[in-house]
């Protein structure tokens, strides 16, 4: 065959069964699945009309970040179109909304991710398809909602919908205001945030006036007190003591180290506008609190 010499055994086999070779032709089975090459149906169900826009709503609490929105669309011509938009939201946790005008098409995919350095829990995003532009009166499709970060974000299809207060919050260490002498510590939960106070530390230096000072820590709304701690001990004149509060601590003081500790409520969530403050009974004009250092778990306020 073709000038190639076959082994004798093969030649003998071919010569012995010529009829069998014709009855059972060698070949693969034909495929059971075929594909349409014309009048193809769209790969996605989301039809975007000329009056639709994609609204991207952001609430951000971290300065200097970027948010990327990437869309893939199938145009009526059969072309694939990609849209990429970048936003730099303010860090004041105020809701901002950006609109992306879309051509009539089928939406194949949408992703929203954060730039490098975006911390988990800092920027909450919601992507919705709205009808009617900035004065929209209906949003037929909520594509995705949740926090975006450096290497994670939102994706459609297969989205997740995460409420701003869902799941663990973002741990933050805050250095508060160093009050002028004679003033209390006052820290306010900022607008757009929700805090759970984990630890609170501050140091009080008393002047030479011989009066015992009692230190309370409390939460209030500005007008209504919701909780006040009980003083662990009284601090006398010309002393510097560190005060520590955290959940689960046993109230005690250590005279040698001049540290005292007391317990916080186990799980208290403070909405925006609530105040964390010291109340120092017997405080003198020359007494001085240092800037407090405290650890909170923070969510974006819905």
């Amino acid at each position: 065959m073709n000038g190639v010499e076959l082994p004798p055994a093969v030649e003998e086999a071919e010569e012995a069964q010529p009829e069998a070779a014709e009855e059972f032709p060698w070949g693969t089975l034909p495929p059971l699945i075929t594909y349409q090459l014309r009048d193809v149906q769209p790969a996605a169900w989301l039809h975007v009309t000329p009056n639709d826009q994609l609204a991207v709503q952001l609430k951000n609490g971290q300065a200097g970040i970027g948010v990327y929105v990437c869309l893939r669309l199938l145009l009526p011509t059969g072309e694939l179109k990609e849209i990429v938009e970048t936003y730099s939201p303010a860090a004041n946790r105020v809701s901002e909304t950006y609109y992306i005008t879309l051509p009539e098409s089928y939406l194949l995919s949408a992703t929203v991710v954060g730039s490098g350095g975006v911390k988990v829990g800092a920027c909450w995003v919601r992507a919705i398809l709205v009808y009617g532009g900035p004065k929209w009166h209906s949003f037929p499709v909520l594509l995705a909602a949740g926090y975006v970060a450096e290497l994670s974000g939102l994706a459609w299809p297969y989205p997740r919908y995460i409420h701003p207060c869902e799941g663990p919050g973002r741990p933050r260490v805050i250095v508060g205001t160093d009050p002028a002498p004679g003033n209390q510590i006052t820290e306010t939960v900022p607008t757009g945030a929700r805090w759970r106070l984990l630890t609170f530390r501050a140091q009080l230096t008393t002047n030479a006036t011989v009066v015992d000072r009692l230190v309370f820590l409390g939460f209030d709304t500005g007008t209504q007190v919701v909780w006040v701690s009980v003083p662990v001990f009284s601090q006398s004149a010309s002393q510097t003591w560190g005060y520590h509060w955290a959940a689960g601590l046993q109230a005690r003081s250590l005279a040698g180290a001049q540290i005292c500790q007391d317990a916080l409520p186990d799980y208290v969530v403070l909405p925006a506008g609530f105040v964390i403050r010291t109340i120092t009974a017997g405080m003198q004009a020359g007494d001085d609190w240092e800037a407090p250092n405290y650890l909170v778990e923070e969510w974006s306020e819905p």
Binding site: G61, I174, N207, V225, A237
Partner: protein, 100 residues
């Protein structure tokens, strides 16, 4: 940046190490454990309030503004208080009790 409040004299940073903004609010003039709070009349509160839709948010209260501090600013050392005979004697007694 470090700032000093013109209303209460408190010193604070407006940007935390984690990139979050800090919004200062002045402490009250008086407060007691029962919840009686006397706010200062020129209180500065940098926390935001939302305006009408489409308007930028604004500060709750401007107060007497704030002053930007030079890098490396340190608070002035507290003035030494005059210590009379009685105060010195009291400190000696307290020290002897603490150290046993």
């Amino acid at each position: 940046m470090m700032y000093q409040c013109g209303s209460c004299g408190g010193v604070y940073q407006d940007l935390m190490a984690d990139g979050s903004l800090y919004f200062h609010a002045c402490p009250p003039l008086e407060v007691d454990p029962r919840g009686r709070v006397v706010e200062r009349p020129d209180k500065r509160n940098e926390n935001l309030v939302m305006g009408e839709p489409g308007e930028a948010p604004r500060m709750k209260a401007e107060g007497r503004g704030r002053v930007e501090l030079e890098p490396g600013w340190q608070p002035p050392a507290p003035a030494a208080e005059p210590r009379g005979l009685l105060a010195r004697a009291w400190e000696r007694i307290r020290a002897s009790v603490t150290t046993g």
